[in-house]
Structure formats: structure tokens, C-alpha cells
């Protein structure tokens, strides 16, 4: 994986490499704490997959392989920054402090949202690919108008990169010099479609043509993802305008639990990427450079298990929403069709106490 354009601070083997533009600023403690995040979100992910298999979730979109990109980016955020995810940013949600069970409300099909986006400064999942990227730029324009020292970080995939909304976002961000960072996780697939169908050239190059910098980072390198994102956010907050980051990574699992990846990719490829696992390489670094003991890793694994158990309990405890709740919050003000719907449903004996 020698690629001059790829920012890498840690090899797949966990060895540090230098980069002319980026240096790792993280302490051993910070790296360990981020390692912990990665382990936990992966564990929560496998738990969610099994919850889905057991019929407790309608769907699950796994993130195995993308923990480096997400925890790297997520930990680079300042508290007041705002994030606009797509639907697979479970690692970002974790970094924003969203209780994992709230994240799963969508996948348990009890809510179309799940958390208080203003409280966590993390927008709700956007399923229609690309929509959120424009919303993010708009939010960033609001930051500008408020003169606030904040930035926006927004996420989309290699597939979504082809959507007009994403591309218009580039136009807008550049035109208004908006404090937004576009974080594209190129996990090399949009469901079955290889990223080469979306672009013949590396995606990060698009940015330059719109008048702002693009950076390609090794998405399985936590340290690099952190530094590149932090620098881009700092730059945005300082008035430097947008940056696009392409995190070159790999979706180890299926697109979602409804997907069958054997139809469109070979195991050998997955095997190759297993050797680039973002968690393993940080672990190797922690062992070699920071002499982190096995017991520390065991503690983290145990904590991850506890989190998973908690998640399971929380999910199982989630009841069926009151059908009448579908009429709540459709409008802020009164609306006759809402009142009528409520009455109709109540007359059917559906809503209320069950």
C-alpha cells in the first residue's frame, strides 16, 4: 500500500511513519483511550448484528473495519462542533456521547431518529444519500453568521459521493468559505458497487476542482485520521474554509444485515484487509511503544462486553411505540388532519395504553 498521496502515520504493522504535513500529537494515554473506543464500538457492532439475527432489530449496518476512521475523526472534534452523519457513523455517535441504545432506536424501528441532536450536537441519521451534506453546509453558514468558533464535520460514503447534493455542497462550501469538513469514508463499496464505478480517480481529488483542498488518509490508521481531521477542523474554525477528507478504508462486513456480499466480492480481498485492521495496528503500537500490558486490553475487552450487555438489555426493554405517537411532532402548530388522524385511530382502539 505505497501511495504517495495517502497520509499514513502508522503502518498496518503498527509502525510509525513520518509525514511532511502531519505529525502525531497524541499521548499514549489518549491513544489507549481511543483504542478503547474502537474496541467498544466494534463490540457494540457485533452485539447489534446478533440482536438483528435474533429478530430484535429490523436491520443493522455494521462498521467493522471503519473504526479507525470514525474514532479518529470523532475524537478530533471540539465539543461545540456539530456533526452530520449518514447512517453508518456509529463510531462518531459514540464519540459524541450518544447512548448506544438511542442509536439503535432507528434499527429497532421504534423511531426514525433516536436522540436529541441538539444536545449531542450530532444530527440525526440521514438515509437519503447525500442530503445531510447540504444540511451540514447550511449549518456551517449559520456558524459563520454567529461568528462562532465552531466547525461542522459531515460524513458520506464513496457511493454517495456521486449524488448531486454532495457535489452541490462542494460548490456552496467553497463559495461561502464555510467552516465545514467533508469526511468521505471510501470503504470501497456502495452496497455491491465498487468505488471505481463512482470515480476512476481517487475521490479526494474532486475537492481541488471546487477550490478547496482534498486529502486522502489511510482510513485504517487512527492516528492519521485523527490528525488530518483535527487540522481540517482547526483550519475551518480559523476561517480557512472547507476541506474534503477521503478516508481510504474497507467495509469488512456486509453492507447491512440484509446484504449478501458473497455475490459481489471474493473472500481473498476481505482477507487482505484483515491484515490492515485498524484496531490491531493500534494495539501493536500500544504494546510496542507504550508497553501497555495484556491486562489493560483485557479490562477494555471486559468493559466492551459490559457495554454490549447493557445495550442488549436496553434494546430488549424498548417497547413498541404507542401508535398514536405517529401524530406527534409532525407539525409544530395545530393541524386539523393530525387531530382527525388521532381521533380516527383512537376510535379504532389502537392508540393509548398498550
Amino acid at each position: 500500500m505505497i501511495d504517495e498521496e495517502l497520509v499514513q502515520l502508522l503502518t498496518p504493522e503498527g509502525e510509525r511513519v513520518d509525514h511532511p504535513d502531519y505529525a502525531s500529537t497524541l499521548s499514549g494515554e489518549q491513544i489507549l483511550s481511543m483504542y478503547r473506543d474502537m474496541v467498544i464500538v466494534r463490540r457494540l457492532c457485533t452485539e447489534s448484528t446478533s440482536l438483528q439475527r435474533q429478530g430484535q432489530l429490523a436491520l443493522w449496518a455494521p462498521i467493522e473495519g471503519q473504526e479507525g476512521a470514525q474514532i479518529g475523526a470523532g475524537r478530533a472534534l471540539a465539543p461545540m462542533d456539530f456533526t452530520f452523519p449518514s447512517y453508518r457513523e456509529h463510531g462518531i455517535a459514540w464519540c459524541r456521547g450518544i447512548p448506544p441504545a438511542e442509536l439503535l432506536k432507528l434499527f429497532r424501528a421504534v423511531s426514525n431518529g433516536g436522540w436529541d441532536p441538539l444536545k449531542y450536537r450530532h444530527h440525526l441519521p440521514t438515509i437519503v444519500l447525500g442530503n445531510q451534506v447540504l444540511n451540514a453546509v447550511g449549518y456551517a453558514m449559520g456558524i459563520q453568521r454567529d461568528g462562532a468558533d465552531e466547525a461542522v464535520l459531515t460524513f458520506f460514503g464513496d457511493g454517495a459521493s456521486s449524488q448531486g447534493d454532495v457535489l452541490e455542497s462542494f460548490v456552496w462550501a467553497s463559495s461561502f468559505n464555510a467552516p465545514v469538513v467533508f469526511f468521505c469514508q471510501n470503504n470501497q463499496f456502495g452496497i455491491s458497487t465498487p468505488s471505481s464505478t463512482q470515480s476512476k480517480v481517487p475521490l479526494f481529488r474532486r475537492a481541488r476542482g471546487f477550490g478547496f483542498p482534498g486529502v486522502r488518509v489511510d482510513g485504517n490508521d487512527l492516528l492519521a485520521c485523527y490528525e488530518v481531521t483535527r487540522a481540517a477542523l482547526d483550519n475551518a474554525r480559523a476561517g480557512g474554509g472547507p476541506t474534503m477528507i477521503e478516508a481510504f478504508t474497507y467495509r469488512m462486513g456486509a453492507h447491512t444485515t440484509s446484504d449478501d456480499p458473497t455475490r459481489y466480492r471474493v473472500d481473498a480481498e476481505v482477507e487482505v484487509w484483515k491484515h490492515r485492521d485498524p484496531i490491531e495496528r493500534i494495539k501493536a503500537l500500544l504494546v510496542r511503544e507504550y508497553r501497555v500490558k495484556p491486562s489493560a486490553f483485557e479490562d477494555i475487552a471486559a468493559e466492551a462486553d459490559r457495554q454490549a450487555l447493557q445495550l442488549r438489555e436496553d434494546v430488549l426493554a424498548m417497547g413498541r411505540p404507542d401508535p398514536l405517537s405517529m401524530f406527534d411532532h409532525v407539525y409544530a402548530d395545530d393541524h386539523p388532519l393530525i387531530d382527525e388522524g388521532r381521533r380516527e385511530m383512537a376510535a379504532l382502539g389502537l392508540g393509548g395504553s398498550h
Binding site: 441532536p117 447540504l134 444540511n135 453558514m141 449559520g142 453568521r145 447534493d165 452541490e168 455542497s169
Partner: protein, 328 residues
Amino acid sequence: MATTTMTMAKALNEGLRRAMEKDPKVLLMGEDIGKLGGVFRITDGLQKDFGQDRVVDTPLAESAIVGTAVGLAIRGYRPVCEMQFDGFVFPAFDQIVSQVAKLHKRSEGIYNMAMVIRLPFQGGIGAIEHHSESPEAYFAHTPGLRVVSCATPNDAFWMIQQAIDSDDPIIFCEPKSRYWEKGEVDLDGPPRGLCEAELRREGSDVTVVGYGSSVKTILRAAEAAEAEGVSLEVIDLRGISPVDYPVVVASVLKTGRLIAVQEAPRSASVSSEIVAEVTQRCFYSMRAPGVRVAGYHVPYPPARIEEDYRPSVDRILDAVDQVMGYGQ
């Protein structure tokens, strides 16, 4: 009572100005709305007075105008987006249907999508294709949105302010062919509720409802009908979604006859909705089935023949004959 005469265009301009003065979070976005003042000059002078950050000349893409407005609304702004013409709202349709209409719900009430999308709509100005569309039914069919239209300068002045004040997203349909017609504006108010229908003319034989530019056409038809001894009650709906049914129903219970007028094609439209709903509510009182006078099921025609497409006084009178003569 301070009233003054102005065009609908000016009334909108004044209404926008008032809203911007009242609330610094109000901002206008759109193509050519700054220096140019918009192709219809509705925002004339506002950029000069409120600056480029509040009257934003955007790059040219409607999905982005609405999509960024969503983000601004999340941030607590109250964006007012101008679509240059009705036919150019469709690139923004996805953002409107998937985000604008649904985010208040998706966020369980946390976000207010307090946003106005201004849409110069309907035909009658001799324009080329895509400049004379009536897309209101698409929005009326979409839960989460409200759709309104003003028919007079006074309503334009007040309704635009109320729409901006509303915490719900509003599709604000402006009858562009009436922009330059003058009317009295009561600057003090208080105005009628944003979605409330208004009786424009009392009558006893037939209830005729419409909105936007059709209201004036219907009033003309009412005069002609009166000459023939038929009394039309004319209701300006103002609210297109939701429709103010209590007002319409009360009228139809009285007259027993309903005509719904719109420029949009008839199929699966606002007039279909009104006829279906009013029939359900007034079944035994109706002496004739409700009739729709609408655009034909064709793309908006070249302007030289647009007046044969748009509901005319003649077509409304034909419908009046139809409901008056029904069953005879």
C-alpha cells in the same frame, strides 16, 4: 387604521422587510435576490439594507438552496428561500420531501423547520416553458408541509410575515400574474390566521373556491353570473394545505353546490381533495356533484394559448351552468 395602496410585489417586499427587522434570525436566500432584487424585484433593496449575510445571493442550484436552509434552520435561523420560478422547485423536491417535511418529526420535535419556500406560481404572464407551473398539489400531498397562497396585496403583506413566524415549513405560493396589481394594505392588522379561508363574496347558489390568481377570475365570474341571476359565494382558500374546511363546508351546506378552481392539472390535485372531502361532509346537502375547473392533463402549453388552458371566466360559468342545471 393605516392603510395604503400598493402592488402585491411591494407588499411582499414590505412584509419581508418587517420580518427581517423584527427578527435578526430571518434571512433570505436565492438566485439573484441581492443586487438584482430577484427577477420579480420582490427582494428589491433588501440586500442593500440588511447586507449580504442576510440576503444571500446563492450559487445556482435549488437543492442546495433548500438543503442549506435546512442546516440554517437547525442552527436556529429562519430562512426564506426564493425559487426563481415554480418550474425550478423540482431540483429541490428531494430536500423538501425527505428533509424539510420530515425533520421536525424525525427529531421528535427538537428541530423546528421554521422555513419558508417562496414560489412564484401559476401562469398568465406569457412566459416560456417551466415558468408557469402550479406545483402546489405535490406539496399538499406531503405531510409535514403547509401550503398557502395569497391573492391580494394585503394578504401578501401579512401572510409572508406569518409564514416566517410559523415554526412549520411553509410553501408560500405567490400568484405571479398578480404581482403588479394594486390593492389596499392595512399596515396595522391584526391579520386573519395564516391558513384561514376568507369569504370574498357572499352568495347563495354556488360555492366557488380557489386560491392565488384564480380568486380574481372567480370574482369576475361571480359578477357575470349575477347578471344572469345566479349568486356565487366566493371563497379564497388562502390555506391550500390544510384547507380551512369549516368555512368551505358551511358555505356548501348553504348553497348545496361546489366548484373548485385551480390552474394545476386536475388529476390527484388540490381540487380533487376538496371535492372528495366536502362531498363527504356535505353529502345530503349537495344538489349536484362538486365540479373541478382546472388545468388540462397536458404540460403547460406555449403562452400564446395559455389562456385557453387556464381556468377562465367562461369555464367557471360553464361549471356554474353544470351544477345549476344538474339533474334537470
